[in-house]
Amino acid sequence: MLETREGGCHCGRVRFRAKVDLDRLSQCDCSICTKKGILHLVTDPADFELLKGKDALTAYTFQTGVAQHTFCRHCGMHAFYIPRSQPHKITVNARCLDGIDGPSLKPARFFGGRNWEEAQAKRLAEEHQDPPDTMGGRAGALTLQAILDRCPE
């Protein structure tokens, strides 16, 4: 069920509001998701609002450079990021929603990102989607920039 929730990093500099569906909680076993322990909730940019923190955020990229792994430079929390698999969307980290109980979060879906191409092909087939236009590898960065540009502070 879609619901509007707020969340953020730990020090409070980064805050967001998003429409999320906790029944679609997803986990990924790739190198970075494993270390982050992130629990994914994919949202549409129209349903995501960065309320504050554009100067506190920094983005880490690697490999293809499409994904924008944003985190708060002050407390190191990864409240949301732009995923390589859907670079026109935003993935909220369910662990960073207000009032969430971490140990009870149980992902219903799984993305086998360790074998990324295979996992992406499987997801696209299941969700009847075409491969995203990476815009020459810049799609993730452009999605992030649009979020930052709309952020008031």
Binding site: C9, H10, C11, D29, S31, I32, T34, K35, K36, G37, I38, L39, T58, Y60, F62, H69, F71, R73, H74, C75, G76, M77, H78, A79, N93, R95, C96, I100, D101, G102, P103
Partner: protein
């Protein structure tokens, strides 16, 4: 039996080596405000059994509340490979997720520290929560 493991952040700047007996050191999780967001899987390691191989200068330290815990993370990639916990600030809590040979099947959390009510949880915890010296 004490064994040697290595691990690190994601970008590779921060690397560490630990000696720990995984059979005698259950991995734990905590439901406090910061452990929830970090998703850290705690592996307590005595100070002298953790060696920072590289990247000590790449770490940023975040503190809050009592300021006792030192929440270190790589300032380049944002990963939290280890930190010094409030419950045992002389030693380390290594994030099992950042071990090179992390295995989600065998390295599951076996106990919960209810850090949301920290004082109660600290009073109740078993001696095994402290790093083995």
């Amino acid at each position: 039996m004490l064994q040697t493991y290595e691990g690190g952040c994601h970008c590779g700047r921060v690397r560490f080596r630990i000696e720990v007996d995984l059979d005698e050191t259950p991995i734990g999780e905590c439901d406090c405000s910061i452990c929830t967001k970090k998703a850290i899987l705690h592996l307590p390691v005595a100070r002298e059994r953790l060696e920072i191989l590289s990247g000590a200068d790449e770490l940023t330290t975040y503190t809050f509340n009592t300021g006792v815990a030192k929440h270190t993370f790589c300032r380049h990639c944002g990963m939290h490979p280890f930190y010094q916990p409030r419950s045992d600030p002389e030693n380390y809590s290594v994030n099992a997720r950042c071990l090179d040979h992390y295995d989600p099947e065998t390295m599951r959390s076996q106990r919960l520290f209810e850090g949301r009510n920290w004082e109660e949880a600290f009073a109740r915890r078993g001696a095994d929560w402290a790093a083995a010296h």
